[in-house]
Symmetry: D2
Subunit: 278 residues, 4 copies
Amino acid sequence: MPVIHVGCELAYEVTAPTSFLFNVAAAKTPFQTVLQENIEVSPNVGYAEIQLGTEGNRIFRLRTDPGPLALIYWANVEMNPIVVNSPNIEENVHQLLPNEVLPFLNPSRYCESDRLVQLVWQTFGHLSPGYSRVQAICNWTYEQLNYQPGSTDERTSACDVLIQRTGICRDYAHLAIALCRAMCIPARYVAGYAVGLEPPDFHGFFEAYLGSRWYLFDATRMAPVDGLVRIGTGRDAADASFATIIGAATMTRQVVWANRGANASPPQNDSCAAVSTV
Amino acid sequence: MPVIHVGCELAYEVTAPTSFLFNVAAAKTPFQTVLQENIEVSPNVGYAEIQLGTEGNRIFRLRTDPGPLALIYWANVEMNPIVVNSPNIEENVHQLLPNEVLPFLNPSRYCESDRLVQLVWQTFGHLSPGYSRVQAICNWTYEQLNYQPGSTDERTSACDVLIQRTGICRDYAHLAIALCRAMCIPARYVAGYAVGLEPPDFHGFFEAYLGSRWYLFDATRMAPVDGLVRIGTGRDAADASFATIIGAATMTRQVVWANRGANASPPQNDSCAAVSTV
Amino acid sequence: MPVIHVGCELAYEVTAPTSFLFNVAAAKTPFQTVLQENIEVSPNVGYAEIQLGTEGNRIFRLRTDPGPLALIYWANVEMNPIVVNSPNIEENVHQLLPNEVLPFLNPSRYCESDRLVQLVWQTFGHLSPGYSRVQAICNWTYEQLNYQPGSTDERTSACDVLIQRTGICRDYAHLAIALCRAMCIPARYVAGYAVGLEPPDFHGFFEAYLGSRWYLFDATRMAPVDGLVRIGTGRDAADASFATIIGAATMTRQVVWANRGANASPPQNDSCAAVSTV
Amino acid sequence: MPVIHVGCELAYEVTAPTSFLFNVAAAKTPFQTVLQENIEVSPNVGYAEIQLGTEGNRIFRLRTDPGPLALIYWANVEMNPIVVNSPNIEENVHQLLPNEVLPFLNPSRYCESDRLVQLVWQTFGHLSPGYSRVQAICNWTYEQLNYQPGSTDERTSACDVLIQRTGICRDYAHLAIALCRAMCIPARYVAGYAVGLEPPDFHGFFEAYLGSRWYLFDATRMAPVDGLVRIGTGRDAADASFATIIGAATMTRQVVWANRGANASPPQNDSCAAVSTV
């Protein structure tokens, strides 16, 4: 089965005692197995690996004093995705949805599905329910938006994006999620690594619940679905930020990679296709 | 030339010394002539007729003490509209726009055109400029929105409407105005009376500047363009409210009418098709 | 220990096959014990009692065909609240917060805490951390807002409320929750019954995590904290709606009650202080 | 009488035929006299000086083809301001306001005064009406906000600022204007040059109508009121942008200066305290 080597290097200048929650470790799921992984934190302040949220996001939790802080994480992840082509999968009528997916119908910070009911029925109501309708939502999102780094920020919600028609991966995911929920299709946000992303970065995509399980979608069309390695899952990006910082710290370096094939260490910097230093 | 008889009856319970600005008188323009008109205010507190705004809206300004207040206004208005069918009118390139129309390119309270630039070029950019493109904006507005009284209020802006896809006449006008301005077509709000409105009420529509003059549009399709009698003009409904109240007053009665043919008095209540008592 | 008798009667006219999630049952917690309870649904379409969300809200889930639907629920609940006076309880520094409360620091649909960081530190940053600071947030919320039924709706968020300064119980709770989270105090929404509410209705209040447990607060000051009977808990009102309706139904009747002392049946209508028929 | 030397240098890379409206010339008013002024546009594409808006903003209007475009403007302006200390000026009751100031009570794109009525009466309602109350609004604005360049953009309105509590000069002005209008005090935006601004830039402040004329206020406290040279006036910044660009152009240089004392030319670059190249 195919293996994807993923990882990241994050560095900060910390200026006050600060708590970090790093959500960068590859998730352990039936569809992806972490063969090897390694995390280094320097200085060696120690960290706890905890699980957060209903989906069990793996978080490295640590606290540090002022000074520089760096984290390097990498993993070889064996992928066993169910990749579906031209599927013929129905939506569930509401009364058949499993209890545990019902909360993913609720609006959330960045996915104000309650405001979009009229729009979705008008735009997608005539389509056959099921996988193909979610695919139509993805296509519409892709066509309506322009991928424009810098045009949105951490306050931007699905409704904002619908007005301004620009955004980045997380905005695409938020809009598609909000549209799904407004049609009573449970949908949730997935943060991950993605093969082939240009420039390399953390990626945001989403899942919709159809038939009897969650299906992965990427409205940006920036990475193949079989190249997506899950990190965290949540209602929206508020639940799956790669770094939550309580205190005072400035990022000085961020490098992210995802390549097909196993590897026993991070890529050498000089072979790393893109290094974004914030 | 055709005559339209318009008018309204407004009543309030005033609970503190209060100033009113009533913007209900038919405008005097090259396209409509006020043949007769009558205004009665009771109790007889007196009023000044003033002109407000760059377009010279006719305002009855008065001040009253606590107690009931009623205003009855009616007019016979001779209409001389230029009604254009399948017109072949160009937009002006920006440098040819007359100075005085340039402010109607600016965003305003209810028409946040600055946020819609991406959307308009994506949606209407491929169409030929001119009258037909504004008509396309009207058609799109009509198709995207559902006319739903009570779904919006006096805080609702074009961007809100674009999200929720419901509204009333003023919301339709605001959205169409915002879309025009975002394409560099000067556009402004018109409040008026409208023949055939069901139920009878004040109406909101808009004008776009094309070729060498303003053209009237009604995105709601609720009234024929030759049945629209202008009351006030402004950047948006904030400039053309039928009643601005500074103080404390509760509306107890609102009746509005607009019928083809002259008439020397308000319609008898029992023959008035619709009476809305708020 | 004191007993509170709570209950509600809800009726709908259903016009299409419709799923309901009723979140009206008193929660079972260490602080409140359901001694007796009764639910009647008519017509007798059957229902499942399920648990939803991380806090295990008790939901009656059912599906019905067009026609009238009525639900009557009542319970006698023995209360064992920890009511704290002039407490001297510290906030936790972030690194000591238990993992399971961390998600309640995230912004949510109606509590955009991410936008309020500057405001909270400026307004409450000089106060001693702990119970008294959350109390100060409650007091500020109470003082800044005017309780005004009808001034908000199901789209209204904490930021909207902060602008318009009016709202009802759920708006008070949302604003206080958002302020707490912006200060890194975990906070969550609680829906419930409340003794002494005038007029009787479902109530919304909130909890903040301090020291080593959740503490209850009611920024509206409309009910004594020892008279609050929990129904549901969640990130905000999106997670704790008393009725989620998927389909088409119009409410025709809503009666809610909460009285001190056990009772073996709903109050007689003629002795029910307030009956609100929507 | 004192003279202030003001000016700016703006440069663009134009990539398509583009219209510019430059609103950088010092206004000619009873309170400031333009002794000398000079404008150079290169390449020499010609320009028209037009007057825009009800306050007669002086605009340089031009059109250019792709390529570089630069504008240098400077003026010596004799100042005759009425600077008032501890004034005892009343607000006008509404019915005494001159007709022409009434439109400055309406909400506008960046000053949503209609949403702030509750807040202003609650916060400032107990204060004596008049100059001192507007001063209190300025003080409150100053105290609530943090001056933070980069925290807002051209979409940011008074309500946004009220939530996030950060902004720059135009945001301070918008918030203060919105608060004034919500109290029925006519208020308008003024763009200008300001002596002592650090770093030098265009400045935004506002006027309130009190007694029988407009009074100048600067909620940022960044420049002395007698060092403010008016460029343009309008409902908000939408009416008084220093450059409106219809077409495609990227700014490559912006230098702004305002110094006490006449000068016959722009300051030498090497003596120019701050040069911001965008």
